[in-house]
């Protein structure tokens, strides 16, 4: 008898079920648990109150990213509350025997940047973190999703989670991207099409020729924003690109173990006849650089477009929500996006803070200057990305153009560490959320790719990078 065809998701899901009662969620085993300072303190407190230990400290890794300053580390942390939270993670990881890439670690960085960098993230794994952008790790053919703090406690104590099986959603991206169009534009276009709740209850699997031709870092950019389309997880089948990225990394299997792992990993891709609950196809050739104009990531349009008119929307709730968004953003229907003045440009985050993102931005900045009146921050996703960029001289390109070159961290993506917009300021940002106040109370965010962000920085307004290439 042959097994019924299965998707990548189904293969991983079934392999990780520890127990499953009828009409109940599965007890799902977790291979890798990533921890950061913001969503873990209450979970460790819970363990202590129950007198529990961490079941598998060897499958748990912590870092500091959300609230750390991106100014030189020699300066003491001014925010007492942030300092206390960071100290608590240091104390908790010490007490429970968990590896910590802390303040002084050369491998510190945004949790979703260092997991892959260290080779911790591997195909076929279940990976969780108290952070919704855990979907990033799905780029390796892992089932990776964000959890709340109660669930962080569950995984610390039991290495398991109660999970209801999600449905599957095939996202096929076929064809070739044009010049100036990148992975970020693919994912912004998908979310604009299906809406920010469009993937609710589902796991995306991205496939098609355009996805296959992407590098691992580009694949991570796409999987990262799965949650912005409502899906807790997004995955891409592992292939030679994946294996090449992983080979030789610190925590990747070595020698004979590597060969055995490869054999398992090669069996993971969805079977040809596997069925998905939903699907959509996107033509890569037709995509343009994308920019959001509103206050959720689904409000995105090609950069050459005009601001949509809420009056054209028949659904009253959707119309009201767009009207509110335009008012918050200070935009009028029918205005061109190109030429909209900006105050700040932020290049960084777990979406676009990797070395290839910085290279793209630097390629546009080289020999140009950040426009007068614009502040540009470039924040590497990890200290390793920072070192690599400095080796390549990218920091010099940024500095000479007038941009600020920072230490690694989440920074202005979430504005917890003092890097933030002032009320009313407009920013083109390579991060993933343009919610009201996300980058600072009253701040206005236009999400875009590193190429579009850099082009806008040198232009002083929202710009089409294709005119600068």
């Amino acid at each position: 008898m042959t097994n019924p065809p299965q998707t990548l998701f189904e293969k991983i899901w079934e392999r990780h079920i520890v127990a499953q009662q009828p009409n109940s969620p599965a007890v799902l085993y977790i291979d890798l648990h990533l921890v950061h300072e913001v969503t873990s303190p209450q979970a460790f407190t819970g363990l202590r109150q129950r007198g529990l230990r961490v079941r598998r400290p060897d499958k748990t890794v912590a870092t500091m990213d959300h609230s750390i300053p991106t100014t030189p580390l020699s300066v003491p942390i001014a925010d007492a509350q942030a300092a206390a939270q960071l100290q608590m993670l240091a104390d908790n990881t010490k007490e429970f025997g968990i590896a910590l890439y802390g303040m002084d670690s050369p491998m510190r960085g945004i949790v979703h940047v260092i997991g892959p960098e260290l080779g911790l993230t591997q195909p076929g794994m279940t990976i969780v973190c108290g952070d919704s952008h855990t979907s990033t790790h799905g780029a390796f053919g892992a089932l990776a999703f964000g959890i709340g703090t109660s669930e962080v406690e569950h995984v610390l104590a039991s290495q398991c989670l109660l999970q209801t099986r999600p449905k599957t959603f095939a996202v096929r991206v076929e064809g070739r991207l044009g010049a100036g169009v990148s992975a970020k534009d693919i994912i912004l276009a998908l979310i604009a099409r299906i809406g920010i709740g469009g993937g609710g209850g589902h796991v995306f699997e991205y496939s098609g020729s355009a996805i296959r031709s992407l590098t691992m870092e580009e694949r991570m950019t796409i999987c990262n924003m799965s949650i912005e389309g409502g899906a807790r997880a997004g995955m891409i089948a592992p292939d030679d690109v994946t294996f090449e990225y992983l080979a030789g990394r610190q925590h990747a299997p070595q020698g004979a173990a590597w060969e055995r792992a490869l054999q398992r990993w090669r069996a993971l891709p969805s079977d040809a006849a596997a069925q998905f609950d939903k699907s959509i196809t996107i033509a890569a050739d037709e995509l343009e650089p994308m920019v959001t104009y509103g206050t959720n990531p689904g409000m995105g349009v090609p950069v050459t477009s005009r601001i949509p008119d809420p009056a054209q929307i028949s659904n009253a709730a959707a119309r009201a929500s767009m009207e509110q968004a335009l008012e918050y953003m200070g935009l009028q229907p029918g205005q061109a996006l190109l030429g909209q003045p900006i105050d700040v440009v932020f290049v960084g985050s777990c979406t676009n803070g990797r070395i290839s993102d910085l290279r793209l931005a630097a390629q546009v900045m080289r020999g140009r200057r950040v426009a007068g009146g614009v502040r540009m921050l470039v924040v590497p996703g990890s200290q390793e990305v920072k070192r690599q960029a400095e080796q390549e001289g990218l920091d010099r390109i940024f500095r000479e153009s007038g941009a600020e070159w920072r230490e690694a961290g989440c920074s202005m993506c979430i504005a917890m560490n003092g890097d933030q917009l002032r009320p009313g300021q407009r920013a083109v940002s390579t991060s993933n959320r343009n919610f009201e106040g996300r980058q600072g109370k009253g701040g206005r965010t236009f999400l875009a790719s590193p190429l579009t962000a850099a082009a806008s920085a040198v232009s002083g307004h929202i710009a089409d990078v294709r005119t600068l290439l």
Partner: protein
């Protein structure tokens, strides 16, 4: 975990769609290391003026909604970040149920672990509820989890779905970690099968 059986309360209408967790509790309030006291941070950017005074136009600040425990919200409530601080802030303020036409996955999971009931109803049922709330802001809604029904002020019933497991957990206040730890032997057996 806090139990949820029945609830009778006035309803606060907050009808924006896609209310994300950054609105429910902005990130600058996430630097805490415990769960207590987050009620003051609930909807902070909408609730307070720039000088920190309460914004009288915001529903939570209106006297007729004081003490109400049910939120009637727009579609796709709780999208965005996985912060459990969102249900912590809602329950600390006093909210025990959120009625909407769709709720984001992670928020739903977090809410259920904090005795906060997410109720998803059809657009028509949502509109009917809203009509009542707008006409009779003082009217009370009854929620009965065991029968999965809401009783409107005119006596009409609106059913709502919830999966059996979540329902049992809420009704009995089941401790989910305790439930998982009952499988400790199975977990150990599973770990023995892991490839090295």
């Amino acid at each position: 975990m806090a139990q949820f059986t029945t609830l009778t309360s006035r309803v606060i209408p907050l009808l924006r769609t896609n209310i994300d967790t950054d609105q429910i509790i902005p990130a600058r309030y996430l630097k805490v290391t415990d769960k207590a006291g987050l009620g003051d941070a609930l909807f902070a950017d909408w609730r307070y003026n720039a000088d920190g005074s309460p914004n009288p136009d915001f529903v939570l600040n209106q006297p007729q909604h004081r003490g109400a425990q049910i939120l009637l919200a727009g579609d796709n409530f709780g999208c965005g970040s996985s912060r459990e601080h969102a249900p912590w802030a809602l329950t600390a303020w006093g909210i025990r149920a959120v009625i909407t036409t769709d709720v984001a996955d992670i928020f739903r999971s977090n809410a259920l672990k904090n005795g906060l009931l997410p109720i998803v109803v059809s657009g028509a049922a949502h509109a009917k509820l809203l009509e009542f709330v707008e006409e009779l802001p003082q009217c009370e809604l009854q929620i009965d989890l065991a029968t999965q029904q809401m009783t409107l002020p005119d006596g009409s019933l609106v059913p709502f779905p919830i999966d059996d497991f979540s329902k049992t957990c809420l009704l009995q206040g089941v401790d989910q970690l305790g439930y998982i730890l009952n499988y400790s032997e199975r977990i150990t057996a599973y770990e023995a099968t892991l490839a090295g």
